[in-house]
Structures are given as C-alpha cells and as structure tokens.
Symmetry: C2
Subunit: 110 residues, 2 copies
DNA sequence: TGCCTATATGTCGGATATGACATATACTGC
DNA sequence: GCAGTATATGTCATATCCGACATATAGGCA
C-alpha cells in the first residue's frame, strides 16, 4: 500500500485494517515459527556433520546439553536470538543464514 | 575441520582450540551486532517508505514509540527476535530477510 | 540383564528483554 | 517566542529466556 492511500485510511484507526492486520500478525507468527525450525535444522545439521555430541557443542557455546537439545527441537523457550548466536558461534556466516532463511516459503497473504 | 581430525583433538579439551575459539566467539558477537543493525535499517526503511510515524508503527506492532525508536537505533536492549518479529509483522517475507542478511559482509576469520 | 553414551523433557533461580511512561531534544509553522 | 509533531533517551515492573540440574528415554554392547 502506498503512503498516499494509507494517509487517507489512517484517520479511520484500527477498524479499517483489522482483519488484514489480524492475518498479518498470525502470518508473522507462523513465519517466526518456521524460521526457528529452519535454524534448528541448520544447527543440528552442522553438529552432526562435525561429529559432535550435544554435550560437546554445548561446551563450545558455553551452554548446556539440555539447551542444545531444546534448540534443535525448536522448543518455544528458545529464541531466534540464541539460535543465530549459536550458528555464528560455530562459524556460520551471514551468507549461510541468508541461504537457510531464503529457502523458507513465502506464505504471507497480503 | 573434519570429524576424524576433530575426534583426535577432542580429548585435549579446550586448551587446543582456545585461541581459535576466542576469535570465533568475538566474530560471532560482531556478526550479531551487524545483523541487528541491518535489521534496524530495514525496519526504518520500511516505515519511512510507508509514511508512518514511530507511534503508528508502534500501534501496529502492539508496542510503544520508545521501543520502536530503540529498535531503529539498534539499541542493545533490543533482541534480534523482536526485530525479526516486527519485520514479519509489517509484511516482510523470509526472502526479504534473506536479502538483508546476505548483504552483510562475511568477516569471519577461520 | 546391567552399563554406558546420547538425547529428550521438566523445573527453577537468576538474567535479560519488553512495553509503558516520563522526559528530553529537534524541527516545523505561526 | 511558543504550540504541535516526531524522535530519542532513561527508568521500571513484569514477562520471557537462559543455563543448570535432575531425570527420563533410547540404543548399543558385553
């Protein structure tokens, strides 16, 4: 939506866009979940390909085996922050992240 | 490093890889900071291009003007999580994130 | 079977992030 | 100068996350 059009709608407040906004928010949530899962898979793939156990990886990350397990399981108690930090910590480059994220489908209904 | 080689080194514990690990960790931190900044810029760009004020964006995100300001400033109190969630919430697609992240330089010295 | 290793799950105290509010700064047009 | 608007900064109570620990489950092997 262009700014001119939006400027006209703005005065009407949330009532105008509520349904659309609702969809956007739930889509956003779905996208976040998928992102978390994609990063989870990346981390597990990296670990197994390097022949490490969760305990060993945890030591590298200065974390614990249980948290590594939760990271790899996409547990909701794990933030995208932690996943990204972990991937960087094991040597992943921004490019690698970009590739992983870019492979997610674009499900956003606008 | 391949898993066979690593397996040999494993027994020696942290002493072997400490310097390398240190570099990796600080690189990881730097990468995270850059990522935060890149996402910050994306968010501000999106907002200004849509002719919204921080207050209006905050309402969309169910957040506050001050937090939006901090997001856009790359404030350390703002997590990557929140930035990503916000971008998704305004309709960004995984592809858009991927493009933003991919543009970061790969500074990791391995 | 019992033992060992790897992974998963539940919980908890302390740490960090969040929204909200107050306030400050900056830039308009009057 | 002074309103009005937009953005920045500081603080705080609450919410959420994190590492750690305990414990459970699963598979291999003697």
């Amino acid at each position: 939506m262009k700014s001119a059009k939006r400027a006209k709608l703005r005065a009407h407040g949330w009532a105008v866009g509520s349904a659309k906004e609702f969809l956007k928010l739930s889509n956003a949530e779905a996208a976040l979940v998928e992102l978390r899962l994609a990063l989870s898979r990346s981390l597990r793939t990296w670990r197994t390909e390097h022949g490490l156990s969760q305990v060993e990886l945890a030591r590298q990350l200065k974390s614990s085996q249980s948290r590594v397990a939760k990271m790899e399981a996409g547990d909701p108690s794990v933030s995208v922050d932690l996943l990204v930090r972990s991937l960087f910590a094991v040597g992943a480059k921004p490019r690698d992240l970009a590739r992983t994220i870019g492979q997610l489908e674009d499900r956003v209904a606008v």
